[in-house]
Amino acid sequence: MADNASDIVQDVGKWEWSEMWKKEDWWAIWLGFIILIAGAVIYFPQTGELKQKLSQIEAKFKPDVEKTKEFKTIAWYQLNEEKAKIKAKDSSIGKWLSKVTSYPKGWVANPLDTFFMSKEKAEKKYNKAMAKYDETKVNTKTALEKAKAAELKAQEASFKNKTLNEEAKLAIMNWRNVQLKEISAKKKVSAAKSYNQIIPLLGLGVFMAIFFGIGMKFMGKSFKEFLTGFSFVYLITVLSWIASNQATMKHYGIGYAAWAIFFGMLISNTIGTPKWAMPAVQTEYYIKTGLVLLGATILFEKIITIGTAGIFVAWVVTPVVWIVTYWFGQKIIKIPSKRLNATICSDMSVCGVSAAIATAAACKAKKEELTLAVGLSLVFTSVMMIVMPAVIHAFFPEDKQLVLGGAWMGGTIDATGAVAAAGAFLGEKALYVAATIKMIQNVMIGVMAFFVAIYFTTKVEAAETGHKVGLMEIWYRFPKFVLGFIGASIIFSLFYSSFQAAQNGLGPAMIDQGVIKGMSDLFRSWFFTLSFVSIGLATNFRELKHHFKGGKPLILYVFGQSFNLALTLLAAYVVFYLIFPEITAAI
């Protein structure tokens, strides 16, 4: 993003190798890759052991899975449930990493619950959860017996009797719905443990201070001053997570980004950000490191999940919406800042906060522009999470609510969490379709960030300086962290595909549930929170108001999102029901 001290682009293209240990962009790449490599070193050695487990599970269930293609058998669901349990991060070191990097816990009325749960309280919670789990186990057993009986009847007719097949399908669906409740109840039993978060949080703070401080030292800044300032920034970061994990705030979808900016701005615009904290107010440094970690989650193979229908809804509609909204912003409402325009287009059309962060960094937007874009996204996300399921429920034909409704919500609601909540409200299938469409859109972040970086470096900055830029100038101005972002994406996409093909489908276990959830994800949101706190601590209300002049960002967002809603619904209907109805039937 643009440095406060130099808002005007300087035409001084000059590459020096020392940049690779003196510049922030490169340090973001090194630090990000240190974490990713550590994840690979920790989890990849488990390949042999997990491959064997997977083979055993497949051998156990495959015969019953393959006995018919008329419907998904009980064994099909059991196979997928068992495969989902194989996770590289379930190793002892994975569990330890998860424990020492965990966020303040959820709380309802007593904020101390975020740090402590006594053994007595945990036991009470455990007993309550266990009672519920026992109840669901009984229901699941009953439903499974009925489903087995129905499947057996259908099997006895060689799966040729349509009525018996439909009855079996329905009985299995009923069992599945009950089983999902049992799985959810079991998770609550596992979570009912006593904890003390103070030492892990302190330890994590020290680790991150040193982790980022080393880079600061190489960049010519004072290590000691950074450590001192970091204590303040980290304190506000923890406070942001405490607020985010309060039950009511979670229900309204008000997450850490909003709280980090809010608390940061509250401090900076009242008592003022302490001068000794300023060395650690490093928005771009934290955000770029987080983005390199985010790159590892952009796995290209995921885009095939829902087939051709998914790619047209997520990868064709999205750039159309982005471009039309950008054009509208430039030509019709004449937004002064192209960077603000681009950032809002990304957060509205791609996938909310993550896309806004990547785009803002790629086009060097100002921190106030990112704040505005994120703020607009969060407000509308909360509204859409509540309104869209109600609209689908009230107006969509019943046979179209799950797939069409799920695709519509997945392609339009900005935040994945809100998408999941809205999808789950309609049903399991809607949740799966909505979350998958959103996941495919998440993968688009890489494409859009690269496009924006190239566009702004070669066209916008050239126009701003008044002359064409050569290749060396493009290289000099190109935000280097994007290389780390794209590099992490390509490397881990190759690893994922390799594990899928050569290691018997171990991609999810080793990459998703290993390097990503067992390493990258443990730190990424912390880094983004540090960044948003830094934005808040360095933002003046007056500067923010200036960017909102005339309400143009709001008009842009509303126009773009309205167009997005219309086009996504049309595209989803056409691809899922007119062009590829067989995909819809298969889901």
Binding site: G253, S268, T270, I271, A434, T436
Partner: protein
Amino acid sequence: MESNKKIPLKKSLKIIISTFFLLWIFAFIVGPFGEKHIPVFKNITKVIEENNIDSTAYMYTEIEGSYSGQKHLLAAMEHELPEEFGFTPVFISGIICCFSILALAFKYLPMNDNEE
């Protein structure tokens, strides 16, 4: 960058305390009232609690439903539509469409100077 303290300390502290008080009102009175009395919201809250969904998550990696959905849909596609699964020509045409749209945008997006 310098600290941008402009308001007197007493007033600043009053603003901070009032803000936290308003947050408390929202968290424990207004928010729960809305959850209970807006019908659809009440049901969504129930779904969030029952399914343990993190409705504040920003990336698919933070939601269990993404992974379950991916597994379920991939298995369904492999099982029932193996010939249409994967990087088929039609699928690749979707990716080409995406890049073509971006290429056109690169060439034709407006370069207005709207600076005030």
